[in-house]
């Protein structure tokens, strides 16, 4: 009885809308059943948008997971003062929640045409917009660089407890048994960390796959799925909303696949969390 309002609410505002996207994806303008929207997803420009989204998500998840882990390990490992660790986790808690329009502006102020770092380089006689024309803040690489600002902290937050789980006694035990540094990592460290690492990787992937505001603010022409969906509603070209629904359905399918991989990994990772 007490839980009834909760279930009623989540059904009305989460499950019914989600189901509505799925139904709409399989309907034509007259609401008749059709596969044509889904088939359209495999054509240009839609399939390119999916590849664009997947590329950006993969790059930022790989880079975020690797560098995030290295930074977290640098802060947690023995010899690093404790305060660095608490500053890093506090900062990560803030920065992980910090994206969208302000983040995009911070990067425009840094690396945009008038950006602070751009100006530093230009004054030093190195104009990277000329020397390195492939890099532009408004390009895919630029969007990836900005996404790292929320990917890295997310990785640090998620992986820190797992790194804590690597007990000192294990390392000492390994050393006592004559294991070398690399042998400890090869047989103990990496196997223990792997489920957490892969789980975090999936979280990071989903995190940038679903991101809209940052990319929108940097470059509205960016060819990724959320931007394409958004264009259907913010432009005045809403001739067939079912295409937007099919696009959203496609995102749902990709993210659901990720979740199917994530849940068992999470369970394995929890084994060492005690």
């Amino acid at each position: 009885m007490v839980t009834l309002p909760f279930f009623a609410y989540t059904i009305a505002f989460l499950f019914v809308p989600a189901a509505s996207v799925m139904i709409g994806a399989f309907q034509d303008k007259a609401n008749h059943a059709t596969f044509s929207n889904i088939r359209l997803l495999f054509d240009h420009p839609y399939i390119d948008a999916y590849w664009g989204s997947i590329r950006i998500s993969l790059v930022t998840a790989v880079a975020g997971a690797l560098f995030g882990m290295l930074i977290a390990y640098a802060a947690i490992r023995e010899g690093t003062p404790r305060w660095i660790r608490s500053v890093l986790t506090t900062f990560s808690g803030v920065a992980a929640n910090f994206g969208g329009i302000p983040l995009a502006f911070a990067f425009i102020a840094t690396l945009g045409p008038l950006g602070v770092v751009t100006t530093w380089f230009r004054n030093a006689g190195y104009d990277y917009s000329v020397r390195w024309p492939h890099f532009q803040l408004f390009s895919e690489r630029g969007v990836e660089l900005a996404y790292m600002y929320f990917q890295l902290p997310l990785m640090i937050l998620v992986i820190a407890p797992a790194l804590d789980g690597l007990k000192r006694e294990w390392r000492e035990a390994a050393a006592n048994l004559g294991a070398k540094q690399w042998q400890f990592w090869r047989h103990v460290g990496i196997p223990v960390l792997m489920p957490s690492f892969l789980g975090a990787f999936i979280l990071l992937f989903g995190n940038s796959f679903a991101a809209y505001a940052t990319a929108y603010s940097l470059n509205q022409g960016q060819n990724i799925v959320p931007i394409l969906i958004g264009a259907y509603y913010t432009g005045n070209v809403l001739d067939n909303p079912h295409i937007a629904q099919a696009l959203a359905f496609g995102m749902f399918v990709v993210l659901a696949l990720m979740m199917v991989i994530y849940i068992p990994l999470q369970r394995r990772a929890a084994r060492w969390a005690k």
Binding site: Y9, E78, P102, A106, A210, F252
Partner: protein, 269 residues
């Protein structure tokens, strides 16, 4: 005898410095931008961009809208989730994994997908709901807040002895409402506050749903200024940072990491 402290590894220095550089330079650049004059070539520094913000009617209008929306979202969320999670911990522990699983659904249905569904579902709804931010947006934001609320409150309830507290309160003759408000709520206050601050940060920064549903909240105004005037946008961005920071630091102060893991998973991307 003193045991020598192990020294910091050189590679740790390198990674921490690189990380610090990556995170601090954009913040510095935003600050530098916000202090620049609109006229090219004039020297640093001016506060005129901040003056522009303070004297802008749209700024006050949109930030008020976003703030009231955040409060509304927090109130609805607490009313909806606190009794539910309390009841689940008290009487229906088998339902807990079900709700925990439901809290993962927003990961699979991110804001950009959710707004498409909401717009389709409530297309024919009355104007006071569909056309009003306090209706349409607020109900959507409660769903965005749901995972954070759940993970934070769930941790809060797990750290107290729900059964003993409830029995003690009832055997002294308290009614359910008294038990909930005078006994349970004070005990999970820090978890509820942490979840509320997080919700505040999320709503104050939410762009996706507001943009697609065409409501003029604070982030929409921020984007509009970004597109039209560079230097005041610096001041506005810094202000927006400060709001997020204040909310998140309050969270850390009250919550001591409770819900911090849930906190990680989303935000205003």
């Amino acid at each position: 005898m003193r045991i020598a402290r192990p020294r910091m590894a050189p590679s740790a220095y390198v990674w921490l410095l690189l990380g610090a550089g990556y995170f601090l330079v954009p913040l510095y650049s935003t600050l530098a931008f916000s202090l620049k004059k609109n006229v090219a070539g004039t020297p640093c520094c001016t506060l005129s961009n901040y003056g522009w913000v303070i004297h802008n009617g749209d700024f006050w209008h949109t930030i008020r809208l976003s703030f009231v929306l955040a409060l509304e979202t927090i109130v609805i969320s607490l009313i909806l989730f606190v009794p539910t999670i309390y009841w689940v911990h008290l009487k229906l522990p088998r339902l807990r994994p079900v709700i925990a699983f439901m809290a993962l659904v927003p990961f699979v249905v991110p804001p950009i997908v959710m707004v498409v569904g909401l717009l389709r579902t409530f297309h024919g709804a009355p104007g006071w709901y569909y056309g009003s931010p306090y209706g349409f947006l607020a109900t959507a934001y409660v769903i965005l807040a749901f995972p954070y609320m759940f993970f934070s409150l769930d941790a809060g309830f797990r750290s107290i002895d729900v059964h003993t507290l409830t029995e003690a309160s009832q055997s002294l003759g308290a009614r359910w409402t008294t038990t909930l408000f005078r006994v349970i709520l004070p005990n999970i206050r820090s978890a509820a506050l942490a979840a509320s601050f997080l919700t505040l940060a999320i709503v104050m920064g939410e762009f996706t749903i507001a943009n697609l549903a065409a409501f003029h909240t604070f982030p929409i105004f921020l984007q509009y200024v970004n597109e039209s005037q560079g230097f005041p946008a610096g001041a506005l961005t810094l202000l927006s940072f400060l709001i997020t920071w204040a909310a998140m630091l309050s969270l850390l102060l009250v919550g001591r990491k409770r819900g911090a893991r849930g906190a990680a998973i989303a935000g205003a991307r």
